[in-house]
């Protein structure tokens, strides 16, 4: 097998992840009214008729009669009602569906947005959960709801839909196009077969033009073809068929805080799909990011989240400027294509700084650069936001700037005798630079303006007016103003860089102190408390930390102290833990919770969830705090993982030590008890040869019994210590029964043992020694309770799903109601006047050993005749396939 023939590990992993998961089939239509729901229901009915368990999760009939008739044949899981602003909305009841566990669920309108307060904001997330639970789902969608085609559809229909489904979700689906020609669709629309009639005319004008429908149809067919293509490719990769596919293409989409970046991301997705290339959305962090408003940050986070939903990797790279950052990132990622937005900067800015595109083209010679135009409407919004961005600063800054200018004026008047008039202007540079450096650009410009006015008013002849008599002095004023502008820009930039450095230093310091705090914690409890307290302090929020337990997440630590969570919070925490994704306020799931829960995880497992909330019940996090939170979560996870591993290690060591002691004790007890027993038994045997010594036989049989009890005690000790060694192997019932009968021949001397085993009984896979102990205990027990001279029956039977091995006697049987009690340690059957020997351990051992091997045992009275019957049940999973001896020749 050559290197290239080998299946790609990622493809195999994806295939493995699909196993055990439900399959998704999506009926894709170009427009409403093509008959998706009808098609889905028809196919659902066919599946039901072929014996599949099909239920309707949700179907919108829009009052269409044929559709309603189709629904009636199906079992419908009732929707649950959600109250919202005085309306009741009926949503799909996901919990009821999960409870009902059909093989196939029909869920209409995949792109539907759920009522606020539902578990997931979107229906496709509900479907994801059904698929995870192993339920197959049929669903429907129209082409304009496909995320990456959203822009394209909006561009020619002028209708933008808000409800979209990510492409990455649809990639797992089998797609079937429900297609009718546009003319026919328009005909159906006129006949009122689409929507409810009064809405149809309105819809027709806006959306259902023939050109629109033709274009939509083409899109739908193309999307389906692409899905088939992708699935074929996946199959090729997983099976390493000799297929050819583009390799080495890598796409980068550069995103900014502008709203049109979302369009760029969608364009990047289409390009990536066409080239089958991995793609990354990257944001280059420059000084500008410092000045971002909250709205900008949210926009940027939304854009990156969109990219990640569309299947991109996302990245944020700090750099001195965009070109440097992109060049470096493109180099590192070995990008072959870059998607950029057309700049919204003015021609004036580009003239001075050079256009980003031009510089990129110059530095990245071998990379294709795509420049996308920005959506004019969205662009306007972006520009508007940009205007309000630079801060004006506090009024005090301007007062102080004015005072400094005044002080310089006074100083200038005093020095006028000594120095030249033109040099006085230089004095004014001092307040300008000071203001720019301390208060920022605007205060600097203000100081520059004030200075030039003061210079003009107080120094330039004629003084006391703002008129200038000598034209040379006009130049002086202009130079002063120019110098003020340039210096204040430079000074302001230096200040901004210092601020940036300061804030990243603060962040680093915070992280360093966080990690110091965590390392200082010696115990698990201290550590969790430290994580809560530190995160709360650094982000100024309330925190809780929950750890996983069999009963769900358990509150472990909180800051400030908190002893319980509301039910909705508990649910959000559980969801975050199960799905390893954030849940709660500010996330996309269970947003009604006041808390935001982030999972703490390593690559191996989820360690817990950290919950954040604000005192005023606002959004727990500002978007610029997200990177810091992520770093904190990483460090907390590492510290927690280390602590858990250390504890596990210590426990394992202690366990190992205990096991060593226990096995040493067991082996010494078994040796020390058996050695004298051997001596006694052998001595008694020797004595039996001399008839003069009576009772030698009694000594021998009693010693043998003692030996059996010792064996049982040791076995019980092993069971209770959980130290049963298991060596399952193919075992023949004939051997097992024969050995047990042989070893109990002395105690069963008074009974005839009948064995009934069908010759074709299959082999079973279990530990022969443990089974032997079970059988001799059952035979012993039968020998003790059965009346002397009565037969003991051992019968082995194959029944569907199991193999039964029964030991039946003809004794007094088991008193009613005692069937379970007989297996308890030191229980002996009462209600009988006969004194029985035994430790009362035998049956308890049978129960413990059978359970350890995965079998079960039960006691009952015989159906026919009198006596007790003990049956060991060997489940199907341990029964080996019967094969003929010819197979092994």
């Amino acid at each position: 097998m050559t290197e290239s023939d080998r299946p790609s590990p990622q493809a195999l992993l994806r295939q493995a992840a699909q196993e055990g998961r439900g399959r998704l089939k999506v009926f894709l239509g170009a427009a409403p009214g093509v008959g998706k729901t009808w098609e889905m229901l028809t196919e659902g009915r066919e599946r039901r008729e072929s014996g599949i368990d099909v239920v309707v999760g949700v179907v919108e009939t829009h009052g269409r009669r044929e559709t309603e008739a189709l629904v009636h044949g199906h079992e419908i899981v009732p929707r649950h009602e959600v109250a919202h602003k005085g309306h009741t909305l009926a949503e799909m009841d996901i919990d009821a569906l999960l409870e009902r566990r059909p093989q196939l669920a029909l869920v209409d309108e995949l792109a539907h947005t759920n009522a606020p307060g539902s578990r997931h904001p979107k229906r496709y997330q509900d479907v994801e959960e059904l698929l995870d639970a192993g339920i197959d789902v049929y669903s429907t969608i129209n082409i304009q709801h496909v995320e990456s085609l959203n822009d394209v559809v909006a561009s020619f229909t002028r209708v933008r839909v808000r409800e979209t489904v990510p492409d990455s979700f649809l990639e797992q689906a089998e797609i079937e196009v429900v297609d009718i020609p546009p003319d026919e669709l328009i005909e159906r629309l006129k006949d009122g077969k689409v929507y409810i009639p009064q809405e149809a005319t309105r819809a027709l004008n806006h959306f259902f033009s023939k050109t629109n429908l033709t274009a939509l149809r083409e899109l739908a067919l193309r999307r389906a073809a692409q899905a088939v293509d992708a699935q074929m490719l996946e199959h090729v990769r997983a099976n390493a068929l000799a297929g050819s596919f583009a390799v080495g293409e890598r796409i980068i989409v550069a995103v900014s805080e502008h709203a049109h970046a979302a369009g760029l991301v969608r364009a990047g997705k289409r390009l990536a799909d066409a080239l089958r290339a991995p793609w990354t959305a990257v944001h280059i962090e420059t000084q500008r990011d410092q000045a971002f408003s909250d709205a900008d940050r949210r926009q940027l986070a939304d854009t990156l989240a969109l990219a990640s939903r569309l299947g991109a990797a996302t990245s944020s790279i700090p750099a001195a400027d965009v070109v440097d950052g992109l060049t470096r990132f493109a180099g590192d990622a070995r990008a072959t294509q870059i998607v950029l937005g057309k700049s919204t900067r003015s021609w004036w800015f580009e003239l001075r700084h050079g256009s980003v595109v031009d510089r990129l083209v110059r530095t990245l010679g071998d990379v294709a650069i795509h420049v996308m135009p920005s959506d004019p409407e969205e662009g306007k919004a972006a520009v508007r936001r940009q205007r309000v961005r630079t801060p004006w600063g506090a009024p005090l800054d301007y007062v102080l700037s004015s005072l400094m200018v005044a002080a310089m004026t006074v100083l200038g008047r005093l020095l006028l005798e000594v120095i030249d008039l033109s040099n006085i202007s230089l004095l004014y540079l001092v307040p300008v630079m000071f203001a720019a450096a301390t208060f920022g650009l605007r205060a600097g410009l203000f100081a520059g303006l004030a200075s030039s006015l003061a210079y003009n008013f107080f120094f330039l002849p004629p003084t006391g007016t703002l008129t200038v008599s000598n034209p040379e002095n006009v130049i002086s004023i202009l130079v002063l103003l120019g110098v003020a502008i340039v210096t204040s820009q430079f000074a302001a930039r230096v200040k901004m860089q210092a601020d940036l450095a300061g804030s990243s230093a603060r962040q680093n310091a915070a992280l360093a102190s966080f990690s110091r705090q965590l390392t200082a914690s010696a115990t698990h409890a201290e550590l969790t408390q430290a994580i809560c307290a530190e995160v709360a302090r650094l982000l100024n929020v309330r925190t809780v930390l929950l750890l996983p337990s069999p009963a769900g997440p358990v509150l472990q630590a909180a800051f400030p102290p908190e002893d319980r969570l509301e039910q909705i919070e508990q649910a959000a925490a559980q969801w975050a833990m199960d799905n390893e994704q954030p849940a709660g306020r500010g996330s996309t799931t269970l947003t009604a919770s006041d808390w935001l829960f982030h999972p703490l995880r390593t690559t191996r497992r989820v360690l817990g969830v950290l919950g954040l909330a604000r005192e005023d019940a606002g959004d727990p996090l500002r978007s610029d705090q997200v990177p810091l939170l992520m770093s904190l979560l990483d460090q907390a996870s590492i510290a927690l993982d280390r602590m858990v591993l250390e504890e596990e290690n210590m426990r394992a060591q202690a366990l190992g030590e205990r096991d060593r002691l226990r096995s040493a004790l067991l082996s010494s007890v078994s040796h020390d008890l058996r050695t004298p027993l051997t001596t006694i038994m052998s001595a008694a045997q020797a004595m039996k040869r001399h008839p003069s010594i009576e009772l030698a036989e009694t000594i021998e049989t009693e010693a043998q019994r003692l030996n059996r009890f010792v064996a049982n005690l040791l076995d019980m000790a092993r069971v209770e210590a959980g130290a049963l060694p298991m060596k399952p192997e193919a075992t023949d019932m004939f051997d097992a029964v024969a050995s047990a009968v042989h070893d109990t021949r002395a105690s069963l001397a008074d009974h005839a043992v009948k064995v009934e085993i069908p010759p074709d009984i299959p082999l079973v896979r279990l530990d022969p020694v443990l089974l032997h102990h079970c059988l001799i205990n059952l035979l012993d027990n039968a020998g003790r309770y059965a009346d002397p001279g009565t037969p003991i029956l051992i019968r082995c039977r194959r029944i569907p799903g199991a193999l039964l091995l029964a030991v039946a006697d003809e004794g007094p049987g088991i008193p009613p109601g005692q069937e379970r009690r007989v297996f308890e340690t030191f229980t002996r059957l009462e209600g009988s006047d006969r004194v029985r020997h035994g430790t009362g351990l035998g049956l308890a051992i049978v129960k413990a050993f059978t359970e350890a091997m995965g079998l079960s045992v039960e006691a009952a009275n015989r159906e026919e005749g009198q006596g007790a019957c003990f049956t060991i049940r060997i489940p199907e999973s341990l029964i080996m396939a019967n094969f003929e001896s010819e197979d092994v020749e």
């Binding site: 050695t675 027993l677 038994m681 030996n707 023949d732 051997d735 050995s739 064995v755 022969p768």
Partner: protein
């Protein structure tokens, strides 16, 4: 005058040594005793016993280590006696070269029977037995013929291979691994289930009552033992 066979008893328990010694002397064997591994190895070299009974729980050395040492230094037949009932240990001892094993507490008659089997195998040096019989079943290893009550029993090649492996050392336990290595020499991984199925069909062809086999005996988790004697005597067991 009859030359008595020499049996070496290696056990740290004086009582056990004395009992075994008494039983063996009664059955007309000469005995040598050793309380430690060191002493055992010395006596083995000096006295050249025919049979050694080795206790695995000796104070100065692990018994399992001694098994290969005993086999290296002499051609003594080695019977392992152990209080430990872990089957792996018995299989290990057998696979390391021990000829048989006995679990404490044991029956003195059982012990004597094992010693007899060991001596008999020693005389014939394994594989040299031309024919043997148990009950009405006769196994002729030269002619490769098996008869039951005078009538020929048809065996498949694999069935015969298993039976002949057992018949080479009648009365002695042969581990699953030892049988399978001979019967399926090319299989890397041995599946006990194949062997079990073969033994089952063998029993159906040879035993009077396959439910209670008397010819091919099973040793739990260890192997099989053929209860036959070359002279057509009674089975060693029961």
């Amino acid at each position: 005058m009859k030359v008595r066979h020499k049996v070496l008893i290696v056990d740290d328990e004086p009582h056990i040594r004395r009992l075994i010694q008494a039983a063996l002397v009664r059955a007309d064997y000469a005995t040598i005793e050793a309380a430690t591994a060191r002493e055992g190895l010395d006596k083995l070299r000096d006295e050249r016993p025919d049979i050694a009974l080795l206790d695995l729980g000796l104070p100065d050395r692990d018994g399992l280590e001694l098994v290969p040492l005993f086999k290296q230094h002499s051609d003594t037949t080695l019977i392992v006696v152990s209080a430990r009932d872990a089957t792996e240990e018995k299989v290990a001892a057998l696979d390391l070269g021990a000829d048989d094993y006995l679990t404490k507490p044991f029956d003195t008659d059982e012990l004597l029977a094992r010693v007899r089997v060991a001596l008999r195998n020693r005389m014939t040096r394994g594989g040299g037995v031309p024919a043997l019989s148990v009950g009405d079943v006769k196994i002729d290893l030269l002619e490769r013929r098996v008869t039951k009550g005078g009538a020929e029993v048809h065996l498949t090649p694999k069935e015969y291979a298993v039976l002949s492996q057992l018949a080479k050392f009648p009365g002695r336990v042969i581990t699953h691994g030892q049988i399978m290595a001979q019967v399926w020499p090319h299989e890397v991984e041995h599946h006990v289930e194949y062997l079990r199925v073969l033994v089952r069909t063998l029993r159906q062809k040879l035993e009077d009552d396959p439910q209670q086999p008397r010819i091919i005996g099973n040793e739990l988790g260890i192997g099989y033992r053929l209860h036959a004697s070359p002279d057509g005597g009674a089975p060693a067991r029961d």
